[in-house]
């Protein structure tokens, strides 16, 4: 394999992983605050459709030549949809004290159906897309340049968002409080933190990010809209949130891992066209089961024990895969 092919592959991985990464970051934030938003798959599809349709209509109605305004409009619509759907889950859980899983599951089906229903007139139509901007000086750095600095705008934004999410969660006071709410709502309450308000806020933010992730598909990585355009992606995202141990950076790593697998599979498929596509399709679901098995079983604990004694504590810390204790539970204020 030539170095240019490798560069192309790596660049492709960086780009392909972005939308999934956005969704994972969004859901990580939501779950860190203690709310499970199971509607991910449906929300992403709905917001992909909404983002595309709004962008398209704005472009047609406004007669815009450039893509910028329509795309912005599309993203806003997508983020708004994501946030609103997440709001339903949050409200149902916090105010009505209903089962988050049930509400999320119904929403995921409903939103997927709505997406297909409302989007049926817009299938397979070309539309606006996110602008490609190669960063001037940086993109000419050998090897790293084309891999990291020659992408569409939203790709850069995604990585920035991931970093900001990590920084907010682990380096700021509000982020610390949010983590406290997710871990031990009772203790956070005792310290005067507004449990409901915090959960609402971060569920909305997470939902907006998920919405943006959906739009990143229809406006960038998988242009356009079609029936069941990105079916299944949301479930993969949910699994990677777990794989990433509810940590933005590790979740991002999971996204890249997944993107790498997908890119490699596509590349291999091109090299060996006789192998039925079935195999590559199966791979992503086996991978999902694989990562969950890895995290769910004893393997990691045994790994920690095999390590030399001084390394054990930091390794155990790095490999913490426990969910926030308060995840999915309603908080009853006394």
């Amino acid at each position: 394999m030539t170095s240019s092919t490798i560069v192309l592959l790596l660049a492709s991985i960086v780009a392909q992983s972005a939308p999934l990464m956005l969704a994972i970051t969004g859901e990580t934030i939501t779950e860190r605050a203690g709310v499970i938003n199971l509607s991910l798959d449906g929300t992403m599809m709905f917001s992909a459709m909404a983002g595309f349709v709004v962008a398209l209509r704005v472009q047609q109605i406004g007669g815009f030549e450039a893509n910028l305004v329509p795309v912005l409009a599309g993203y806003s619509a997508a983020a708004l949809s994501g946030a609103l759907i997440a709001l339903i889950v949050a409200w149902g859980s916090i105010r009505l004290r209903q089962d988050q899983v049930a509400i999320g599951f119904v929403l995921t089906l409903l939103m997927a159906d709505l997406a297909n229903f409302l989007g049926q007139n817009f299938t397979r139509i070309p539309g606006p897309s996110v602008k490609h901007i190669g960063i001037p000086v940086l993109k000419d750095i050998p090897f790293l340049g084309p891999v990291l600095f020659n992408h569409d705008l939203i790709i850069y934004l995604t990585y920035v968002i991931v970093f900001v999410a990590w920084w907010w969660l682990y380096r700021t006071q509000p982020g610390l409080r949010m983590r406290g709410v997710g871990e031990r709502p009772a203790s956070a309450f005792a310290r005067g933190v507004n449990i409901g308000g915090t959960r609402y806020l971060y569920t909305l933010i997470g939902g907006a990010l998920v919405g943006m992730a959906g739009a990143t598909y229809s406006l960038d990585v998988k242009l356009g809209w079609s029936d069941n355009h990105i079916l299944g992606v949301g479930w993969i995202a949910l699994a990677i949130v777990i794989f990433g141990g509810w940590h933005p950076l590790r979740g991002a790593f999971g996204a890249i891992l997944y993107g790498a697998t997908k890119t490699l599979a596509t590349a291999l498929q091109q090299s060996f066209p006789e192998v039925p596509t079935v195999l590559f399709n199966t791979l992503q679901w086996l991978l999902m089961l694989g990562v969950l098995l890895l995290v769910g079983g004893d393997t990691l604990k045994r790994l920690v024990e095999l390590a030399p004694k001084p390394l054990r504590r930091p390794l155990a810390q790095a490999l913490r895969f426990a969910p926030p204790e308060g995840l999915g539970q309603t908080f009853f204020e006394e």
């Binding site: 983590r179 406290g180 956070a188």
Partner: protein, 554 residues
């Protein structure tokens, strides 16, 4: 800071938990709030610390009324409370825990906060490591961390809710010394909530006694034990006679057992338990008693060594189909070999070989999956084997571990019935539980759901569900949260079991209970079994020091 409670009432539906209570707390003193479990002490202090609002009544601080919407309001005014289970964040580091909701600044200044913690630690005499994760600390250490946090935030009054449960005698001495210093030297107000007379007598300047929700009386130093007892109970408590125990055949054998979990490992445990004997497990929370108890019940695997119940080794999962795990690999190997042979002898081509291997993988894979399913389906847990052989394990968490919320008493009876037919005999179950309700004095009806029972009645229900006779009974904190009468009654029941020949092993944090009820006491400290002492020949002080880790050379 002068704090006054004026005519505090608190009602929960029909229950009048606090009935017209008025107390004055002057700064620079240590107060004791004494009363039996259920007397209303915790409720009152939760009101004072802002966790709950009173139904009526007022709280005055330095001559002004105050009202709290949350514990952090109270802390801002200067009233802090330390719960038995600290309200902290175990997966976080000490410094993070300290910083959470500490101030309104955006950034976390970790190094500043670390230094503050170290300074404060020196000032108040607590050792602490800001970078350590809270869930690696003992309960006592976490209490100290929480205390430091509240002092740093300006607490003038500290309420401690049963702080000596689960800490060693030495830690208790340190704690009491700190309390004295905080009150007498620094002018803070300390309130010690406890049901332990001796501690209150040792530490407090004044005492308020609650009984059944009412303030029965207040006294200042010096205290008269009889006076306090009468206020607490309204009567004197009869001491029950400990039954005599003689040589009997052994029931449980623990030999060089090592039990390992993520947070703790206990090694080389040796002990033996005979019929009708009572063994108490003493030690700080997190020293290994629960691990041993659960391992004996088959709930935790034994890493090395053995545990035997009547000669049967308590072992992990029993899989009758274990041999079947070889089926799939064998098939895979066999088929692959077959195809290889045919390929090498030229009977089939390369592509067919690939196809053959693929189908071998598929078939072997399916076989393996089927085996896994059947194996999981037929495996028998060690714990269930343990139960079949006459063992019983009663956990501490009543609704979390021992009873199923949502099911009625009758349903529980049917559930644990060993002679279960396909169709449940509801009438029979109802009959049985009705008898047991009478026998065990449970306040409830067969169709009552267990979560509607009070804590004490839930405990009675748990015992009512046990089989008879048992070979061994493992109890985790059997009398926790019970009043004296209920506790006595439970030990009467256990006494009966002893007569039947049941061996009993129990965990307790109450040194008095351990000394009074056990024949022998096994002392755990820091993950080691320090030794087994004869309960009749030891004292509270000695036991306390043993728990603290000091092995007495005798």
């Amino acid at each position: 800071m002068r704090v006054e409670l004026k005519h505090i009432h608190k009602r929960f539906g029909d229950v009048h938990a606090n009935n017209d209570i008025s107390i004055v707390f002057e700064p620079g003193h240590i107060y004791g709030l004494l009363g039996e479990n259920g007397a209303g002490k915790s409720t009152l202090m939760k009101i004072l610390s802002g966790y709950q609002p009173p139904s009526s009544g007022q709280i005055w601080v330095d001559g002004r009324t105050v009202s709290f919407h949350s514990p952090s309001d109270a802390l801002r005014i200067g009233i802090g409370m330390l719960y038995q289970e600290p309200k902290d964040f175990p997966p976080m580091r000490t410094v993070e825990n300290h910083l959470l909701a500490y101030d309104e600044r955006l950034m976390l200044h970790i190094s500043d906060a670390s230094n503050d913690l170290l300074d404060a630690g020196e000032r108040y005499g607590f050792e602490n490591d800001p970078m350590v994760y809270l869930d690696t600390l003992t309960l006592g250490q976490r209490q100290q961390v929480e205390m430091l946090r509240q002092l740093a935030l300006g607490a003038e009054m500290l309420i401690l809710d049963e702080p000596t449960t689960g800490i060693s005698a030495e830690q208790k001495d340190v704690l009491f010394a700190t309390m004295r210093r905080l009150a007498h030297a620094e002018g803070k107000t300390i309130v010690l909530v406890s049901h332990k007379l001796e501690e209150v007598q040792e530490l407090c300047d004044a005492v308020a006694v609650l009984r059944k929700g009412q303030l029965v009386g207040q006294r200042a130093r010096p205290f008269s034990t009889d006076d306090l007892v009468e206020m607490m109970f309204g009567q004197s408590i009869p001491r029950t006679e400990r039954p005599h125990f003689e040589d009997t055949p052994p029931v449980l054998l623990v030999e060089s057992a090592t039990i390992h979990t993520y947070s703790l490992t206990i090694e080389d445990i040796n002990l033996q338990l005979c019929e009708g004997e009572v063994l108490g497990l003493a030690g700080l929370e997190g020293s290994g008693q629960k691990l041993l108890l659960q391992a004996c019940a088959g709930l935790l695997p034994v890493r090395s060594g053995r545990i035997e119940l009547d000669g049967w080794q308590v072992k992990g999962l029993r899989s009758p189909l274990a041999a079947g795990r070889w089926a799939a690999p064998l098939v895979l190997l066999g088929m692959t070999a077959w195809y290889l042979v045919r390929f090498l002898t030229g009977t089939i081509r390369g592509l067919q070989l690939a196809g053959g291997i693929l189908s071998a993988l598929l078939i072997a894979g399916t076989l393996q999956l089927v085996f896994m399913i059947l194996n999981a389906w037929t495996s028998r847990d060690a714990y269930h084997e343990f139960r079949t052989r006459g063992g019983a394990y009663v956990p501490a968490g009543r609704l979390e571990e021992a009873l199923v919320p949502g099911l009625t008493l009758t349903e529980h009876t049917a559930l644990v019935d060993p002679e279960l037919n396909i169709m449940v005999d509801w009438d029979g179950a109802k009959e049985t539980i009705s008898q047991r309700i009478v026998r065990f004095g449970i306040i409830g009806r067969p169709e009552t759901k267990v979560e509607a029972l009070s804590g004490g009645n839930q405990q009675r229900a748990m015992l009512a569900l046990l089989k008879s006779p048992l070979r061994i009974l493992l109890l985790e904190h059997p009398t926790r949260g019970l009043d004296v009468t209920s506790a006595n009654w439970m030990w009467e029941l256990f006494s009966e079991r002893r007569q039947e020949g049941t061996a009993i092993m129990f965990i307790s944090a109450d040194l008095d209970e351990l000394l009074e009820r056990s024949d022998r006491i096994a002392v755990f400290s820091g993950g080691k079994l320090l030794g087994i002492v004869n309960a009749r020949q030891t004292s509270v002080e000695e036991l306390g020091y043993l728990i603290g880790g000091k092995v007495d050379e005798r």
